[in-house]
């Protein structure tokens, strides 16, 4: 019977119920979107790293495992790497940040392409001269580029010569030597991708290299890909913590205001219930159930809205951000929302439970 009253109360003010649920849902969406971005971008990095087709990678001393990196490694080391047993191919890559999460990648195209089994061009082909650039299809969609379009980056205009299927490490590529020149980093690279004649010997080759290059991080590609995890990004974890705290505060305030208003509005009805013999626990139970239902509707709305944010990101900024749907966070976000909602209803519910029956009945 109490559930009928709870349901009817929520139904009685549909706009307020809907707005409250949506506002609660926004907190859920914030959490799911942020966690989804973290997971999605890590997954995307892993897919693109796999697309290189290498067995191992040599990175610059002191560089982060999952970071973008910079042109800081001496290119001379390339000859050493190429001379190692079982190495059939080693190709240098340069990465230069162009602001935010964007970067431009320098490659020796033929070598890089051969290692990964070739580029699949949607249109056009590889860069032919110093003023040309190739971009992946997601970047082309985000920036509305096609073959022949002009892309302005690194303080100059580039002609797009080809649009390739994404999954080849970088989204924007130019010749490595040109990148080094423009970045004033001649002779410097970011990493070296290595292909072996026998992938099962990867660890053996890494061990051999490490003896002679002890300060260089050298990873098997599969090992590196496993490192692409949100747990390896302490800054992101901290940021998620901040967003969760904001969501708790947001949910608390929304429920507090909604239920405080509801309690004021229903003063007389609370008086009627008390006249019928309802104790404080009964009144408290009604408001708590109402809040739990509101939080449940809000959580579902928040989950649905996270699909909306994923669609928006995939449609308008597919190259900059990738949002995954992280199912394991659904119950976590819902539980956090429920806790904040229950915290939010406590004061209004206690106020209602303590209300004097006679005063409430006299309320107009």
């Amino acid at each position: 019977m109490v559930y009928t009253l709870v349901y009817e109360n929520l139904k009685h003010r549909p706009v307020r119920t809907l707005l409250s649920a949506l506002a609660i849902g926004l907190g859920v969406t914030m959490m799911l979107t942020l966690v989804g971005l973290g997971e999605g971008m890590m997954e995307d990095q892993a897919v693109r790293a796999r697309g290189v087709g290498a067995d191992l990678v040599v990175r610059a001393p002191g560089s982060s495992v999952v970071g973008m990196g910079s042109l800081s490694m001496n290119q001379n080391i390339l000859n050493f790497v190429r001379s190692q047993p079982h190495v059939v191919m080693a190709t240098p890559v340069g990465i230069h940040s162009t602001g935010g999460v964007s970067s431009i990648m320098g490659v020796n195209f033929d070598e890089f392409s051969a290692m990964g089994g070739g580029f699949k061009f949607r249109e056009g082909g590889k860069f032919a001269d110093q003023g040309e650039v190739i971009v992946d299809d997601l970047y082309a969609r985000e920036k509305k580029l096609k073959v022949g379009s002009t892309l302005h980056t690194m303080n100059r205009d580039w002609r797009v010569s080809g649009v390739f299927a994404s999954g080849k490490l970088g989204r924007v590529m130019i010749p490595l030597a040109l990148l080094q020149d423009l970045a004033s980093a001649n002779g410097k690279i970011t990493m070296i991708y290595v292909k072996l004649d026998d992938a099962s010997r990867t660890q053996e080759v890494i061990d051999g290299m490490k003896k002679q290059l002890p300060e260089y991080p050298i990873y098997a590609m599969e090992e590196l890909i496993k490192q692409f995890s949100v747990s390896n990004l302490p800054e992101l974890k901290a940021f998620i913590g901040v967003v969760v705290a904001l969501s708790v505060l947001f949910g608390f305030l929304v429920v507090f205001l909604a239920m405080y208003t509801a309690v004021l509005e229903r003063t007389r009805e609370i008086g009627i219930l008390k006249a019928l013999g309802a104790g404080p626990g009964y009144v408290l139970g009604i408001l708590l159930r109402e809040t739990v239902l509101l939080a449940a509707i809000g959580s579902m709305a928040g989950i649905l809205m996270s699909y909306g944010t994923r669609w928006l990101i995939a449609t308008f900024i597919p190259a900059s951000f990738v949002q995954a749907i992280v199912y394991s966070w659904w119950p976590i976000a819902a539980a956090i929302t429920l806790c904040s909602a229950v915290l939010g209803v406590l004061y209004p519910a206690l106020k209602a439970a303590k209300q004097d029956a006679l005063d409430s009945l006299s309320y107009d």
């Binding site: 009253l5 009805e269 008086g271 006249a275 019928l276 013999g277 009945l361």
Partner: protein, 223 residues
């Protein structure tokens, strides 16, 4: 056998720096199955008596026994229990829950009292007598004032309380509906032996009761 026993009941309110003696030593006995009307002008203290007897406010002093339960010694939880178990209210403004249907307004009173299961034959009879059996799925706003008051009467006796307290039950009704509601209260009193204590300022309404007592300046006359 007295179902309500009141001795030297006083209720004093503080209004600013002044003590207002709403009940100044009321004595009253109401027998089980009696229909009593308490008549008085506005400010005479009759509503305060209604609130004290219903456990809506504690008395200042004196003795009040309802169905053998001493009300004076009760705390808030005790008075809540009294309202749940022994008292049914009919208010001037009906006080139905606006979001619930007629059926659910009756059910919630049972739910609060912890009563489960189908309605008893006696209560189904009451519903028929009150003429609300065809209105069960309607919300209060879809009912006339007279119909709402009949639902309120049904709700007041759904748990078979020891006493039914009615505060100006016809105050918001026209003459036709007033006579209908009062007639129904009398009928329920006679048919089921339901004790009714009605507060009114209207002598015509009071005439429906078996006995009438007059309230003046916080005291009962003719009790």
């Amino acid at each position: 056998m007295a179902i309500i026993e009141i001795q030297n009941l006083r209720k004093t309110f503080r209004s600013g720096d002044v003590d207002v003696h709403a009940l100044a030593g009321v004595n009253l006995q109401v027998e089980k199955g009696e229909f009593l009307a308490v008549i008085g002008k506005s400010g005479s203290g009759k509503s305060t008596l209604f609130h004290v007897l219903g456990g809506l406010t504690p008395p200042t002093s004196g003795t009040v026994k309802i169905d053998g339960k001493e009300l004076t010694a009760m705390d808030e939880a005790g008075r809540t229990r009294l309202r749940r178990e022994s008292v049914g209210f009919v208010f001037q403004k009906y006080n139905l829950l606006p979001t619930l249907t007629v059926r659910d307004n009756l059910e919630i009173a049972r739910d609060i009292s912890g009563v489960k299961g189908p309605w008893s034959e006696q209560f189904l009879d009451v519903v028929r007598i009150l003429g609300i059996e065809g209105k069960m799925d309607r919300k209060p706003r879809q009912l006339s004032g007279g119909e709402q008051q009949r639902v309120a009467i049904a709700r007041a006796i759904v748990n078979q309380p020891a006493i039914l307290l009615a505060d100006e039950p016809t105050g918001n009704l026209d003459t036709e509906n007033s006579d209908l509601v009062l007639g129904l209260l009398k009928h329920l009193n006679k048919k089921f032996g339901q004790t009714v204590l009605m507060i009114t300022h209207d002598p015509e309404a009071a005439a429906f009761a078996d006995r009438t007592v007059q309230m003046r300046d916080g005291l009962l006359h003719g009790a």
